[in-house]
Symmetry: C2
Subunit: 547 residues, 2 copies
Amino acid sequence: MRYWNSWGHDNTEKPPLTESALTFVRETLGDSQPLPEATLEEVCKQVPESRLPDHALIDKSAEVRVRHARGQSLPDWIAMKSGDFGCFPDGVACPETPEQIRELLELSREKDFIVIPYGGGTSVAGHINPQQQDKAVLTLSLERMTRLLDLNEESQIATFGPGTPGPMVEAQLASRGYTLGHYPQSFELSTIGGWVASRSSGQQSLRYGRIEQMFAGGRLETFDGTMDIPTIPASSAGPDLREVVLGSEGRFGVISEVKVRVTRAPEKEEFIVVYFPNWEKAYQFCREATQQKIQLSMLRASNAVETWSQLKLAGHDDLVAWLERYLRLRGVDEGKCMVTFGITGNKIQVMAARGQVHKLIRSYGGVGMTGLGPKVGRLWEKGRFRYPYLRENLWKHGYAVDTLETSVNWDKTNTTIDGIENSLRTALEDEGEVVHCFTHLSHVYTQGSSIYTTYLFRMGKTHEETLARWNKLKKACSIAVVEHGGTISHQHGVGRDHAPYLKHEKGPLGMAALYSLSEHFDPDQRLNPGGLLEEITENEKSTEGAL
Amino acid sequence: MRYWNSWGHDNTEKPPLTESALTFVRETLGDSQPLPEATLEEVCKQVPESRLPDHALIDKSAEVRVRHARGQSLPDWIAMKSGDFGCFPDGVACPETPEQIRELLELSREKDFIVIPYGGGTSVAGHINPQQQDKAVLTLSLERMTRLLDLNEESQIATFGPGTPGPMVEAQLASRGYTLGHYPQSFELSTIGGWVASRSSGQQSLRYGRIEQMFAGGRLETFDGTMDIPTIPASSAGPDLREVVLGSEGRFGVISEVKVRVTRAPEKEEFIVVYFPNWEKAYQFCREATQQKIQLSMLRASNAVETWSQLKLAGHDDLVAWLERYLRLRGVDEGKCMVTFGITGNKIQVMAARGQVHKLIRSYGGVGMTGLGPKVGRLWEKGRFRYPYLRENLWKHGYAVDTLETSVNWDKTNTTIDGIENSLRTALEDEGEVVHCFTHLSHVYTQGSSIYTTYLFRMGKTHEETLARWNKLKKACSIAVVEHGGTISHQHGVGRDHAPYLKHEKGPLGMAALYSLSEHFDPDQRLNPGGLLEEITENEKSTEGAL
């Protein structure tokens, strides 16, 4: 069963938080106390009467409305834990076909509802949260459209229902010998339609591409009917409509079918963890490996604070002590940085990539490639989708953890990391609170890298105080991102939390073009209003007003 | 000096048309006679008085207006050779800065001009041709904005003036040890801004990507000011504005600066030509090599008719006879198909790619990899940008040659090739005229391939009759493309010639979205009207009307 107020399923094996890991957190942030948690029953009692009419496709029961009211952002967690939801959708429809989606859109237009398309509910940026408003809100969940509808093996195109979550995407493909290779951290719960709508990126994007490179076509249900995007390999026939659907976050229509480029399951795959003596060398190694186009499937680099924080949080003191002795003997000590990479492909490709990368690791003083690396890599692989469960572990002890991410060109990577980390470390200074933060590069490109920063802080004495701390932190790091010219999101999307910052990268004319598309597809602003693009008044609709 | 009525420059070494090649054409199509050609002087005399005011940036001289009136489509050639241009721009402005572009746009809005952005003038689909209309037409040529403005070596981002032609892109980068790697057939004349505006693809797209993958950001000058697109490696922050500029064909604004992802000049590069016993094997080899992600930089496959036609047109009878004997001895004879590929990268990458591809070639019965292949490959490389000169050679003898291209998924490739070739072969049956056509796959993707078909036919007794023949052929093959679900252009863009067919791949809702963007950026429809999107009347503007 999926948790109603936390990440994941109750039957998933979860990573433990050992006593020594907890000691590390306590020593870093100070002692803390957990906050009280509301029960599902208590929350259900708050759910007001639905403003939606009775309809065969619409479930208006309180529990279903609670379970679809929030995503996985930290404010969502505070709402779910405190029971203070603010508002709920008036009902949840779970269509099983594109026809039913169209029927629900038509109904919404006729009856003047707001519609929120809903995939896996894993948004960490407030994508799917209903807002207080006069109109009834219908959440349109795609959770019953989870099938592999077609697999064309010659063209390697698979057609999926939009609500197919990661494990079902891969299981259905694996039974035919194929893989999509899209592994976001949210893999266990997030859906293929959600990946498209929010321009998701998976851990092995270096081989398989981001969802933009996988999304070959599909269907978008709009108020004017179905926009069918054919799967053409490449085209110079005008602007690419797939790129309008990608990242549209439910504002232009509801994705009812997703066609993706798949690959035969690879002959070989391995993940390897190596350690570099310092950040500069780890960083240069990543840049070089990418710009040399070495066929890696994944490449990520933790800075020094993340490296030792991860070792502390792993909680296996003996093993970690052994590892550190081993590294010290090989000249990698204080300030060491962990780099994890994947090699995927046929035998020759794997051998060639290993040869190139080994040479490059040595040239930057990295160690671990042959002995330790593959072993630690296998541990990483085993636990790769379990990190989101750590939040619950810490929460129970009164600590909050959140992440943010951006991407910038290589020449701005280091100053941007410093800017973001400094903004977080100082954001709660006025309260005398310590913020512990660390960073890794999670996705690399020839021109630059994504930056993924994790931050831990002590909860306040109340849920409100905790939320106030988060608001300060979120504002500080978002401003830092924008000031360094980063995108407000490399892989989590815009939602409501990032919408105020979007204008800084899109510019006034870019924003005006996006607003114009939104008005074109949804003239009544009925689809997820306020997500992606902030609501603006008539007066603000001029180009300048948009900023 | 650039030719005013033909392809290229007079100081470029051109491929000869040998007597035996000409004999092949005569035997295939029948004898023909060349048509008379107008002189530049005669055409200049026809140029009417300009409707533009005097302005320091605008050249209204007849010769400049003639030289910017047409592209390189076959109808353009007929216009240039016959001297029957129909109409000319009223003047040509050659701005040197983005500020001057904005000044010219502002002037055009104030004085009610039509503006046609102009790059290298190499369009083969009527992108830059002025139309008969009441308003004065200003062609805005970017030919003076040809500099490498910045090269960030750490992030491998180069900034260019939009009018920089291929050889100047590569020469300026080469002097710093870099390459863009974008080599369309039009490389000698086409420009980096034109590549972006028309979604161009270069021969080595398998390594370097299409221009979509290279275009990192830049500036679009619009009537509302400058739209600045920052160079962010990847983002999930809403729809990608680069993808709105890419393929916009001058309809949304004028590209004034192009930032591209560049690569260090490769350690090694080689091109190899191999021969397969039949099309099925050549085709399967290409699909396999691509889907296995072998690191090739280029891969193209000629069908049997193209293979022998190329051998005949090469004109070296002795060498070809020797080659055919050699192939016959190795089991490759009648029906053989030529496959050309490139391997580019560092030493290990080249070695690994060679190993994988060699194994695959053998498994499909291909020959030539080790002995002959690299030699013929070097010949191909030497002449790779000279093919466009062949049109003039044939024209002089009364034969017309044109090409078309599309792309479809692998499962539709063969039926689409057959459909296109049949449509051409039968298009002039009513006149008893033979059409000789042949095809290659020019760009490959995991999901499918581009299809590039060349067709030769005999000119009519007059220029009008020749144009009428071309119209029949163009219509027939465009319908075949559309009926097989191909894109109306994989690499040549839409312009005016392909605009009527665009709706078949974009669909009514996609077309409506594009029209909506065009009205957003250019409410007076002043920028290149009729290009990309056909002009529609007020009544047709509803969604259904767009089709």
